[in-house]
Symmetry: D3
Subunit: 250 residues, 6 copies
């Protein structure tokens, strides 16, 4: 895959020894916890996120009586998921701006592939809790949350609570970034801390964009770099989408 990317510096040396377009080892353990309607522990290298999908037979107030459902998400990091201990948000009494930004992103990403009418007046609540962090937790959360959601929906279909599948497509996320002038796929914490720019790309199984979020860290980036990053992300998304299908036993 590496040769065809034209503008990408293909011989970059990464701290992890990975190729520029190589994902971290991925695993997804379905059914990690037993109470949630859908549960998966997703590991992308040393980033481990527990994604639980709960089916709630109610909708938020603004949707009451509208004959449609809702999909939403919450995100949290265990205090010692990180290299040094972070404050517990429940103890501080509020979620940080970063937490809220991430959980809004997860919710939007999932809703993009859901037919909310077909879901009926119920809520699919995704909880993404980071047990161990090494960069890329928001992308792992989205990728894992979709699997948890699919498992929960399968339960509803199996129990004839739903007649048709409200999930229109898969949704998958990956990070890419410019590190020392080179575009690389799936940044770990070391790369993330020192990169010039990083992007989180969320795409459907059909190859369409759901979210494109690129941020210059220290150094702004031009259109050519942006194009290279988008190409690279697409390749990663394709591989991750296969892992998702495998985790569902398809």
């Amino acid at each position: 895959m590496s040769e065809s990317k034209g503008s990408l510096t293909t011989n970059v040396v990464r701290p992890s020894g990975r190729a520029f377009d190589q994902l971290r080892p991925v695993s997804m353990v379905a059914g990690f916890t037993r109470h949630a309607e859908g549960s998966v522990l997703i590991k992308a290298g040393d980033t481990h996120v527990l994604c639980n999908a709960s089916v709630l037979e109610k909708v938020p107030p603004f949707l009451k009586g509208k004959g449609q459902g809702w999909v939403t998400a919450e995100y949290g990091m265990l205090p010692r998921s990180t290299h040094t201990r972070s404050d517990r948000e429940a103890a501080r009494g509020k979620q940080s701006g970063r937490t809220q930004e991430i959980q809004r992103l997860i919710g939007r990403s999932l809703r993009a592939v859901f037919d909310l009418q077909a879901l009926g007046e119920r809520t699919l609540h995704l909880d993404c809790d980071v047990l161990q962090a090494d960069g890329g937790t928001r992308c792992a959360s989205i990728t894992g949350a979709w699997v948890a959601a699919a498992l929960a929906v399968q339960t509803l279909l199996d129990n004839h609570i739903l007649a048709t599948n409200p999930i229109k497509d898969s949704v998958t996320a990956v990070s890419v970034g410019m590190v020392n002038g080179a575009a690389v796929l799936d940044l770990d914490y070391i790369e993330d801390s020192g990169c010039d720019a990083d992007m989180n790309i969320v795409m459907t199984g059909a190859g369409h964009f759901v979210e494109v979020q690129g941020t210059a860290e220290g150094q702004t980036f031009d259109r050519k770099a942006l194009d290279a990053l988008l190409d690279l992300a697409h390749g990663g998304i394709l591989q991750l989408a296969e892992y998702q299908q495998k985790a569902l036993g398809r």
Copy 2:
């Protein structure tokens, strides 16, 4: 300008009667309030944001003694800046996730063009308060905040508090979106509410990206649409950057 964009549907009819690549009327009133070191009221059509820059002779704890400054931002909407009254965040006792997301974006965008060492151990605090909203408030905030920041820095230079200008480039933001299959520039509230996808693009005067944030609303978008939106945004940014220079009397 309209003919050259290839993939863009150039004859879209917009509620406002604007051409697909036409900004709303822009005005920037420097010195709108008198206490702030830099103050500007920016109007983009019916979106009016008061941007005030304050110079504080202190830095956040994590920067103490590091010989560099900080640039940060806060954002708020007056309760009746919107079509229907929104709750006052101070009364509810917390800022919404949306508010925090926006003020983090403004802060990052401004920092991307600042030499924080050159700023010295002080903080430039940008307050962006929406007096009237009609879509695009976060982009107007960034565009206006840069002008307010430049005014405050000018004061520091004039008073010989700073010897060299810590601002490396201008920074400007604009929204673009897909409305009924057509890419359009600078969405107002009606278009924003009904669009398929919208993007906020933040660029420097040199034409580099600082932030690229695209979100599918209801409909995902492909690479071709993304390219069209990026082209369109660039055109809008160039015009807005001229207004910024004019507001500074350059």
Copy 3:
């Protein structure tokens, strides 16, 4: 006007050069924002307050089903409305005691001239946001809020939502104080900071008291001073009430 006040020291020298019984220049811009049912930007010298009146088709829980309406107010200062930047209350997570005291005062003052039965089961919500502060913001808020309320009520009358005007009288506020032993009208920030005692007087168009709030700052005051201050306030109220009528086009 100055000679007739008997006990008042009429030849006091004020920082602003104003006579002891002279208001700051007043202006009221009706329709300053477009979404509110009533909107006015009131300027009393360098104190600028945006007063927006919203009509909400609901009442607080304690009034449900009682066949009457409610009038209430919220007050806020933009962080850089002041000489040095103040914390944003929404970011701190609570409104200060001062803020709550002021907004309770504004609400009480407005309710004193309202026939709540005639308003019907709806709420008139006044938002008073200080864009720039130079003393006397609570008085300017009350004076401006009444105009905003009157504009909103006019809309309800014009649209035949109300058949009779629920506003029984105008209400107007002004500050007075003892500065260096002399009673002066309409204190600005410098005078307010250094005064011995200050009062905020709220009166109706008929010349009755709605609120009388006098506070000794550093020096207590006797009955004679109190009488002088009340006389002086009455004169200021009469002038401000004319500005209110003019702003309503009467």
Copy 4:
């Protein structure tokens, strides 16, 4: 005493059977609790407030190193001090606007008679907790807090921590109001609920005003009524000041 008041309706019938200018029975128990440097339980009829004065060997941040002290107050009502149970503010997570307004008033009133330089760099913290409420709790709090403060200061003098008394004068508060067109002294809860206007007057032992707070409830009031209320309050203050001296054993 009653005949001399001219404009006052002297033959009003009050629910309690009191004369228009008659205080409720007053008692002050010094040393009600043992840990506070000054402690008094003040009873004004069925209104019982425990006032504790604590001496803290520190000042608020804004006074550090300025060689002066501070006097401040906090106010609270026990949940079942009222006719029907009120929410506990600690459980709700915030103090109401009313609570904050009252404790700011108590603090200001006490500071008006204190020489803060003479107090030295320490804080006198007054806690006024209403054990039982029947109207007039803020006035009872001020009157009792002054006694508690005087007791605490006496301890400091006795222990030679202070050489000179920082208390310049006594401070006392009473409520007056217009009930059915008549001015009456020291309103209880029934009168307070139904009055046309009520005032809280805070005066020094020398007969000067510290605070004058009059509010129209349902009906505005004219200058003549205001004058009558001020006269009536003065009479009550004189009597309460005697109780204060007695409680101090003077």
Copy 5:
């Protein structure tokens, strides 16, 4: 009583001069405040707690329509009930973990002797407010709260709101602890601060346990010590239960 306890060191010297199995002087003043349906001021030595029982004609959401009532409690300490002033929880904006732990304990203890069906769909809300603290406030709260509850229930019975008494038994609490190797009854603050282990025991009139809470402070304790403490507590509970009956006039 002292000789029979075998393992107990009966000749311990306590700071207060009390025997190892001697309670502090106890008093209970019924009807201390007048608005509460049941009110008692309980004094155990220098620990004074005001216990008020309120009858609310509603139940918490989770019990709506279930045909049963609820008994719950809140606990608070006045800021200067303690040797040095503590922060006011209402001002800090939250109740401490200790406060919540205690009020949960009081509620559970009371519910253990209540027939919630017999109470009907209403809530008995106990407020335990510590006016003065000298150790053992949670035990005094439980013992006093039961008396307040019994007074409130008596009112309901007298007014024929209840036909049968929902209170099945009395409930009483006392603390015991190991101080310098000796088991002692009813610790005051000095003993509590320096003890090796302390227990709070809640028992019914029938001599059954409702709560047993023992905590090693500095030194763990063995089964023999535990048995001695339980014996000692039982003796104290029996005496306190008599005071409860006396306070109810039985």
Copy 6:
């Protein structure tokens, strides 16, 4: 083991099929996460708790400069660790009373076996996060937290940061309860929901009590039942303590 317990009903039928004195299957995975100085995933049947110990080179304010360390704990449940989803405490903005009660218990239990002087001026912070709950989470947290603490201390000893082991003994917790009149060991969720009384017992390796917490749920219990429960708990503690040693590789 079962026959020897005398007063215990040994032939009780439990939902899980376990004998009355049989623990759930136990496992402890040391090193479950990689950043914490000590990490263990403890499983007691379907109750899974991740216990992470962090070493922080600071102490709380009240211990600064006192030459000793601190051991503290925080506890949380993932929202979908439970049968039905619970609110996320970080989103609600505060920790429940139950959460605070549990984390205080964990902290006290650990401190009981620590020599805080020997720990030096640092904090051992235990985070106990419930990934899956089926009763007994507080006991599993204590038992697991001790293992995590021991692992963290071992790291400090191995790195010569500590010269002597500050851990004086092991600490272990188990629940017991009366279910249908029979004393049973290690209640799962079904038994916990329906029990008459439950106790949490915390003991040291030397067989001494650290905490004894018994609560009547629905039915009070007598001394004989208490004795039976204490016996039963001791047996469970002994077994769990062996698992702890095994997890540490001893």
